[in-house]
């Protein structure tokens, strides 16, 4: 009786936490009730149709690009022995270290209408490539964000289907048909989960889409807010965005319905293809890596060497310290919360709507999360203190990071938990263990790699984050991304290269840990 009450109290506490984290989103969702939208009819006729169209098109191009890169590369690095396989295994994650807006600016400087490579091509081949349009941006986003799909797909290929693959091989399947007819369908839930994160990243982007002249729902929000001076319409566009994400979530959920969950946890056996094939695979992986990470890094490093001495190195070290502090604190807090939510999802009778809602934050542009956060913190800050205690504090900034990146923490955990057979829980339950005890003693230890991996992903995201940091930070507080923005925001891309390079290097660190972690289970 007492334990049942304690369990209920625990559940309520978790729900309360979820509501707290869903707060800024609730500000958006309830906006028609509290914020007037005088320009809504203009937005509805002139903006929304075009923006929805371009958003969906951009999303489709980015997804197709990412899938075409991520799934085959994940397959070959797990299934075949070829020169450099181990190096490619981790190096293919590297593009994730590039913040999207920096990648987009860099690509434009190389392959835009006045880009150095474009001009070279025009002079030497007579063809002038141009990425500065919707199609180009879709491909650029796909190139930067494909690791979101590559990581779960590779994990699934490596660990989740060895029995089925062996069976298919016995029945004569091999090569492409093994990949398309057996592996991809089995890995579909993992691929869809990754595609969901990628979609949310594409939807929340503002810097890159604005620069490329693409009109998405996110640019529409800012156009309404800043241009039309109508925050209400901006927030309503935010609701449209959230509905879109809800549809994507539903698709992801459905894709899991008939998925096999019984995983055998045996590593898939690698085969040794013919010498010719080995080098073809090598060339394929090498070109992906060269294009997705090599080219932009070459440009950034080249610029950084030129302007290195113009930078205030003391200030950069200071910014690096702030970035590292924020990233590690946010990762720890987010994962603590994500773990609690995972417990609730596993052992609650129904899934918690507040938890579902809190997970939507990843699709909302950072500046809008910041707005929602400030609206919530405002009343407290305006009350009788000597000054604002929340806005401008590191605590509120960390809270906003949690709201924004919760999905990055929970999605991998939910996924990993699903592959733990329920029979484990039931056996423990029969032996009289409480839900919490089962979670702590059985589920959690098995989740450990996923928790650490998710923490690393959150850290990478926080290192790259700009808009939340920009507006919620305390006085005289610079991070690497705010330092980059100082220059990139005023079209001085070359001067921005040094802090940008530091962001990439800094984000590589957690990615490196992530790879070691995954490598241990997959190798």
């Amino acid at each position: 009786m007492v334990s049942a009450m304690r369990a209920r109290a625990g559940r309520s506490a978790i729900s309360l936490l979820a509501i707290l984290l869903a707060g800024p989103l609730l500000v958006v969702l309830t906006s028609p009730l509290h914020t007037a939208a005088p320009e809504w009819s203009h937005v509805l006729t002139n903006l929304l149709p075009v923006q929805t169209g371009e958003t969906l098109l951009l999303l489709a191009i980015a997804l197709v690009t990412a899938l075409l890169i991520a799934v085959p590369t994940a397959w070959v690095v797990t299934m075949f022995e070829f020169p450099g396989r181990r190096v490619f295994g981790w190096a293919l994650v590297l593009p994730l270290a590039l913040p999207t807006y920096i990648a987009a600016y860099t690509w434009a400087a190389l392959l835009g209408p006045t880009g150095s490579i474009s001009i070279w091509c025009a002079e030497h081949i007579g063809l002038k490539p141009n990425v500065l349009n919707l199609g180009g941006l879709g491909i650029v986003l796909g190139l930067v964000l494909y690791p979101y799909i590559y990581l779960p797909a590779r994990a699934m290929f490596a660990r989740g289907m060895s029995v089925q693959i062996e069976a298919a091989r016995t029945l004569g399947a091999s090569g492409f048909s093994l990949f398309m007819r057996v592996a991809v369908p089995l890995a579909r839930p993992a691929i869809t989960a990754g595609a969901l994160l990628l979609s949310m990243e594409v939807l929340n982007d503002y810097g890159a889409v604005k620069y490329y002249g693409v009109r998405t729902l996110t640019t529409g929000m800012f156009r309404s807010w800043g241009g039309l001076r109508d925050l209400g319409s901006g927030l309503r566009i935010g609701i449209v965005l959230l509905v879109l994400v809800a549809v994507l979530l539903w698709i992801e959920h459905r894709s899991r319905r008939h998925a096999s969950t019984a995983t055998d946890q045996l590593p898939t056996k690698r085969s040794l293809p013919s010498a010719g094939s080995r080098w073809i695979i090598f060339a394929g992986c090498a070109s992906v890596l060269l294009v997705a990470a090599g080219l932009p890094l070459w440009k950034i490093i080249g610029d950084a060497i030129v302007v290195w001495n113009m930078n205030d190195h003391g200030a950069l070290v200071n910014a690096l310290g702030h970035t590292a502090m924020l990233a590690s604190c946010a990762a720890i807090i987010t994962l603590l919360i994500a773990t609690l939510f995972t417990f609730r999802e596993r052992h609650g009778r129904r899934s918690d709507m507040a938890i579902r809602a809190a997970n939507l934050g990843y699709a909302i542009p950072g500046a809008v999360i910041a707005l929602g956060t400030m609206v919530l913190a405002g009343p407290l800050d305006r009350s009788n203190w000597t000054g604002p205690v929340l806005i401008g504090s590191i605590g509120l900034l960390l809270y906003a990071y949690c709201v924004r990146f919760l999905a990055v923490g929970t999605q991998p955990l939910f996924g990993a938990l699903r592959s733990q057979p329920r029979t484990l829980d039931e056996a423990a339950l029969m032996l009289g263990a409480s839900n919490w005890r089962i979670f702590r003693r059985i589920n959690l230890p098995l989740l450990r790699p996923a928790v650490l991996a998710a923490a690393m992903l959150v850290a990478v995201d926080v290192i790259k984050e700009l808009p939340l940091t920009l507006i919620l930070r305390p006085f005289n507080f610079e991070t690497l991304s705010t330092s980059t923005y100082r220059f990139a925001g005023i079209e001085q891309l070359r001067e921005a290269s040094v802090p940008a390079l530091l962001i990439v290097l800094c984000a590589m660190l957690p990615l490196f840990f992530l790879e070691r972690l995954l490598g241990r289970t997959e190798r």
Partner: protein, 348 residues
């Protein structure tokens, strides 16, 4: 593995000094004097000037740099407890918005009134222009007769079909240009202008102002609408990628009808709930002084607001211009109308 993971935050805390939180001030300021600035401007010049102000007065300048609309929202949410003393934005429209939202207070300063011409400041003293940028037309000297353009409207003539380079209407500089046209000639004429430009565009709007200038160098169009300081910076640049454009660019100061060239300002005002009003006014006065005005002009290639201060040599070469004397307060008031006209004209 485990240990190294948990070392990370500790390490980070060790190397990152704890940030000074916005310290609440008691009613009677004690100890070192300070002034808290919220600014949208992220130019190194400003940092240098703030440091010079501190050195001169002993007043510490604390800064948060972020985008205009977010900054206004932060001030509004902080309310009476806001630590902000001075708000600086890079758009007169946003200053007008801050005034109408009750985020600023009127300040009277003889020095500011003397240094800043009356059309570049709020009639009631809520904000003061500090530096000025003109929205001009850059042209390819090899392909365009400069005499063929004297107004913004000239760019809508059929001879410029496929030649006009301009960034998207998402940008506030385009919005305030159109707002100024609405103020002078009414919405019909302004819309016709926007439609005429859309018809003559060399390509779909993309990139920033600098990208339009670089496109001139590549022969993608022959005329580009851009802000003066981007041209000044390009002219001062040693980057190899920018040399081609640098060699061909000339500048025209077009007029809105007979009214003169459109300008916008960066400016500042004292926050409504400022706790350091005296220091705030001192900072604004310093920023309008000869020393700071020269700093803005040299460092950031902006036009000084104070009459008689020399412009940067890169801009001097382009000659002088007649500035539109429209009070900039109109830009904020008409900004939303301008955005709607852009949408109706199909200007991305």
């Amino acid at each position: 593995m485990n240990r190294s993971l948990f070392l990370m935050p500790a390490l980070a805390l060790a190397c990152g000094d704890p940030a000074p939180s916005p310290t609440p001030e008691p009613a009677v300021p004690v100890g070192p004097r300070e002034v808290n600035v919220y600014t949208h401007r992220h130019y190194d010049t400003d940092k240098v000037l703030f440091d010079a102000f501190s050195a001169k007065t002993g007043i510490t300048v604390n800064v948060i740099m972020a985008d205009d609309d977010e900054v206004l929202e932060r001030m509004a949410q902080e309310g009476a407890n806001s630590p902000c003393d001075v708000l600086i934005t890079a758009d007169a429209g946003r200053l007008g918005l801050a005034k109408s939202r009750g985020l600023l207070q009127a300040s009277t300063s003889k020095l500011l009134q003397a240094n800043v011409p009356s059309s570049l400041r709020d009639p009631e003293g809520y904000w003061y222009g500090l530096t000025m940028r003109a929205r001009v037309i850059a042209y390819n000297k090899e392909k365009v007769e400069p005499g063929s353009i004297s107004t913004y409207a000239d760019l809508t003539k059929p001879q410029w079909k496929g030649k006009v380079l301009v960034r998207s209407s998402e940008n506030v500089y385009n919005q305030s240009l159109l707002a100024a046209m609405i103020a002078h000639d009414g919405p019909e004429a302004a819309k016709a202008w926007a439609q005429g430009i859309v018809k003559n565009m060399a390509r779909a709007p993309q990139g920033g102002d600098t990208d339009q200038l670089l496109a001139l160098g590549e022969g993608i169009g022959t005329v580009a609408i851009a802000n003066s300081y981007y041209i000044g910076k390009l002219m001062a640049s040693d980057e190899p990628e920018k040399q081609k454009a640098k060699a061909v660019i000339g500048v025209i100061f077009p007029s809105i009808g007979v009214h003169g060239t459109h300008v916008n300002i960066s400016g500042g005002g004292v926050a409504k709930h400022a706790k350091h009003v005296e220091e705030a006014i001192a900072l604004l006065e310093f920023l309008s002084s000869d020393e700071a005005q020269t700093g803005f002009a040299e460092g950031n290639k902006e036009y000084p607001v104070k009459p008689g201060i020399a412009v940067a040599k890169e801009l001097e070469a382009f000659g002088t211009f007649q500035r539109d004397s429209l009070n900039l307060e109109a830009l904020g008031r008409l900004n939303a109308d301008a955005v709607k006209l852009f949408d109706e004209a199909g200007w991305r």
